[in-house]
């Protein structure tokens, strides 16, 4: 990512950063607002995690430049994502 950006490209990036920031701020307010609606627990969890995942992807894709990142970085992350899911499945294991 860091290799040889022209000033124009950097400026383009900066506009993206500002937009992403606005999106993140808006989403934060939305998720807090929704929490005051006291949705049923499953819906609340779903909505909150959906918004959080979306915010997280924005940060990862634009601030962390994953959207334009090299394959060598993306491949291990896919692996990690898989193992992360395996970890999150643990709590349900004892039920089967």
């Amino acid at each position: 990512m860091s290799d040889h950006l022209s000033p124009e490209e950097v400026k383009k990036h900066v506009t993206i950063y500002v937009r992403v920031f606005m999106a993140l701020a808006a989403l934060t307010i939305i998720t807090v607002a929704i929490s005051y609606l006291h949705l049923p627990i499953l819906a609340a969890v779903g909505v909150a995690l959906l918004i959080a995942s979306f915010k997280g992807s924005l940060v990862a894709a634009y601030f962390m430049h994953l959207a334009q990142e090299k394959k060598i970085i993306l491949y291990p992350l896919i692996l990690v994502f898989f193992f992360f899911i395996v970890l999150l499945i643990i709590p349900t294991l004892s039920r089967f």
């Binding site: 701020a25 929490s35 997280g56 990862a60 601030f63």
Partner: protein, 200 residues
């Protein structure tokens, strides 16, 4: 000495992989961090579905304060990435400005957090009070440690470490980017911690 003893790809990316050593290293480190917080989130889920009663975060935690903290971290992420962009534009003084703001925001986050903690302790709510407080203090505490680590890292890059800009700007930019990746990751963790602990 011959170039045989030179470690390559410190400042210039590898022609095939397209990344520098530090960038790949930081991503590996972050992968490991994902698994660390994954383990803790897993613990959270297990404790919660196993619990007979689980308090709703918003009833006992201070949501407005945490929302403020979320905003602080998001802004600090923006300033962090701006400091990197300033370097890309070869504007060193702007870099220092944004980096300083990032550090101040990090400290602000910790100050707000400490108010929250103090408030809990005043009401005799400790990690041992129940598992909600236990996991709350553990997760936010560990996250707080990461913030402290990030602040020290950024302080180094703001003050003594910035000398490198004069001798090897490319490598310095790589370092700032690496620190940025870490800082954004800390922000990212908070983005998930905030709804899980405070809103659900």
């Amino acid at each position: 000495m011959s170039d045989a003893a030179e470690i390559r790809f410190i400042s210039k990316p590898h022609p095939i992989t397209g990344v520098t050593n530090s960038k790949l290293g930081v991503w590996c480190f972050l992968a490991s961090e994902v698994m660390l917080f994954g383990g803790l989130f897993s613990a959270y889920i297990l404790l919660r579905i196993g619990a007979t009663e689980w308090p709703h975060g918003s009833t006992i935690l201070n949501v407005p304060l945490a929302t403020l903290n979320t905003m602080i971290l998001i802004v600090s992420s923006v300033t962090m990435v701006m400091s990197w962009a300033s370097l890309a534009l070869k504007n060193f003084s702007k870099y220092r400005f944004y980096m300083a703001i990032t550090i101040l925001l990090g400290i602000a986050f910790l100050v707000v957090k400490s108010f929250e903690y103090a408030h809990k302790f005043e009401h005799h709510h400790y990690p041992s009070t129940n598992n909600f407080y236990g996991i709350y203090f553990t997760l936010t505490g560990l996250h707080g440690l990461h913030v402290i680590g990030g602040i020290f890292l950024n302080l180094y890059l703001l003050l003594p470490g910035s000398k490198l800009w004069k001798t090897n700007p490319e490598q310095f930019m790589g370092r700032v980017e690496a620190a940025g990746l870490y800082w954004h990751f800390v922000d990212l963790v908070w983005i998930f911690l905030f709804p899980t602990l405070y809103l659900l």
